[in-house]
């Protein structure tokens, strides 16, 4: 416990790095997953290939992706960009199916009414379908955000400073304190992300709070 108190500023620095490395890909991944999910839902025959195809990306082990990323991106090997791109790929892998299913959960009657009112497909997507899909998407995004916080720690194995560095430091010194500190910080960080997403989802769906059902 003393060790943790003595090293609070180190822990705080690493937490900020970790937050950045997990949050940016989560947002980017969501933005990329929206068009992909929409395409998968709009054209029935594309659902399986798009969803399964992106889902496949999640099976690539994180360590391999971090190391091989510079070869694809032309970045330098220690750039944090490698981690951000890799994590974005994982987020897209998780969220494409969620977005597709979320858009699919919008009742046909609602989309039909929107079309009847003269909404074009894009306007319908942004003002009707996406807002109604928010509960499903938010649920999936919570899982993705938490998963990202966990995977980013693996980047410690290639020397990117974040909370995972506490794990490797503790391991090579046979010292549990940094590892425990890292575990607690990761869980707290994931909790914060979770709460933010829940909050944003509630802000976006005032009709649910009003108690009316569609």
């Amino acid at each position: 416990m003393d060790w943790i108190l003595d090293h609070l500023d180190d822990i705080e620095y690493l937490t900020r790095q970790h937050a950045w490395l997990s949050a940016v890909p989560t947002v980017l991944g969501l933005l990329l997953a929206i068009p992909l999910g929409w395409v998968a839902r709009r054209y029935r025959f594309l659902y399986a290939p798009v969803v399964v195809g992106t889902g496949l990306l999640y099976t690539i082990p994180s360590l391999a992706l971090f190391i091989l990323m510079p070869l694809f991106l032309g970045t330098r090997i220690l750039d944090a960009t490698n981690v951000v791109v890799a994590m974005t790929i994982y987020t897209v892998a998780l969220m494409t199916r969620t977005v597709a299913d979320g858009l699919g959960s919008v009742p046909d009657s609602v989309t039909a009414s929107a079309t009847a009112m003269g909404f074009g497909p894009l306007r319908r997507l942004f003002t009707v379908e996406l807002p109604l899909a928010v509960p499903v998407i938010a649920a999936g995004l919570r899982v993705a955000a938490v998963s990202n916080v966990s995977i980013v720690s693996v980047a410690a194995l290639i020397g990117v400073p974040q909370l995972g560095s506490l794990f490797t430091d503790g391991f090579v010194r046979d010292f549990l304190d940094p590892i425990v500190a890292g575990l607690i910080a990761c869980v707290l960080l994931a909790l914060v992300f979770d709460l933010v997403i829940v909050l944003v989802a509630r802000l976006l769906t005032p009709w649910q709070r009003a108690g009316a059902s569609v």
Binding site: W3, Q17, R76, I77, D79, R173
Partner: protein, 311 residues
């Protein structure tokens, strides 16, 4: 009316992203700064590998460079040579604490040249030949951290082991543990057979002198293991380092690896000062403080620098 919540939440996300910017910029900062690290600015990034001794050396180098008026930062804990050597070549890192023997062998693997020396001077000379033009090494330090084959004191007593060669008659019944590289490298299984006629019954891949090999040795999953000579657990756990009279393991002196276009008289003086003040004994003591006593590398490094007037 429908847009307000959407805008509000976008604003929240944007604020969070900007708040995280404080941390993110730093993550990307080191990379940007290193772009101009090639002699234009004074900013030097010192890297280190993911074992305590190297992190300690990284701290010491960083402190010494700071003391010489160069702005040095320490990028610690980089997992493998495959990650940090490219980092030295692409400008992300300018200084790295290295070891003459392994570094020489790393480059010799690419060039295919045969290395013959095993003494400190000879190895250093061969290293200088093998280095690519972008990298240079400063004079090596007396401090050395060598590969070693280590057994428990029980095993040493049971089979009457003092040097590696003593393993030859019994190795067939024993298991050796070490890094993945040892399967192929001359300083590994092939070399043990060539030089000492030692062939182990089984080889288990653990890590390069790290906690996995140590634990496996202590719980008898392996009877002999590859540890590094300054590992404080050797003394703490009553382990025996087998002698290497035929020099299977070449010299491994601590040496500063520097990117050629970051060289400057101040840098050379600072790092040479460190190399002169370091020796195997004080290095071992410092590693013991970090690993066994759980002290911070920064603190131990500062003590060393202060004692030797290097900061």
């Amino acid at each position: 009316m429908k847009r307000t919540p959407l805008l509000a939440s976008l604003a929240v996300v944007a604020v969070m992203a900007l708040a995280g910017c404080g941390g993110g910029d730093e993550a990307l900062d080191t990379d940007n700064d290193s772009d101009s690290g090639s002699g234009d600015s004074q900013e030097i990034v010192v890297g280190s590998a993911n074992f305590p001794e190297n992190i300690l050396l990284g701290e010491i180098y960083t402190g010494a460079l700071d003391g010489a008026g160069l702005e040095a930062t320490h990028r610690a804990n980089i997992g493998s040579r495959e990650a940090y050597l490219p980092g030295m070549l692409d400008g992300s890192l300018q200084v790295f604490p290295e070891y003459t023997g392994v570094l020489r062998d790393y480059f010799a693997l690419e060039s295919g040249d045969k290395m013959t020396a095993s003494d400190s001077e000879g190895v250093y000379a061969e290293l200088q030949e093998q280095l690519p033009p972008e990298l240079e090494v400063l004079p090596f330090s007396e401090a050395e951290d060598k590969d070693a084959v280590v057994v428990t004191s029980e095993t040493a007593e049971e089979y009457d082991l003092q040097s590696i060669g003593d393993l030859a008659p019994v190795a067939g019944d024993l298991t050796l543990g070490g890094p993945p590289e040892w399967k192929e490298r001359q300083t590994g299984l092939p070399g043990l057979e060539d030089v000492y006629g030692v062939v182990f019954g089984k080889y288990v891949v653990k890590d390069a002198g790290g906690p996995l090999t140590l634990d496996a040795l202590l719980n008898d999953e392996i009877q002999a293991g590859n540890l590094f000579s300054t590992n404080p657990s050797i003394a703490a756990e009553d382990l025996v380092v087998l002698d290497d009279p035929d020099s299977l393991f070449a010299a491994q002196n601590v040496v500063p690896l520097v990117a050629a276009d970051s060289m400057s008289p101040e840098l050379e003086d600072a790092l040479n000062g460190v190399s002169e003040a370091l020796n195997t004994d004080n290095l071992s003591d410092m590693v013991t403080r970090v690993v066994i006593d759980k002290e911070d590398p920064e603190d131990v490094a500062e003590d060393f620098l202060t004692e030797n007037n290097l900061n």
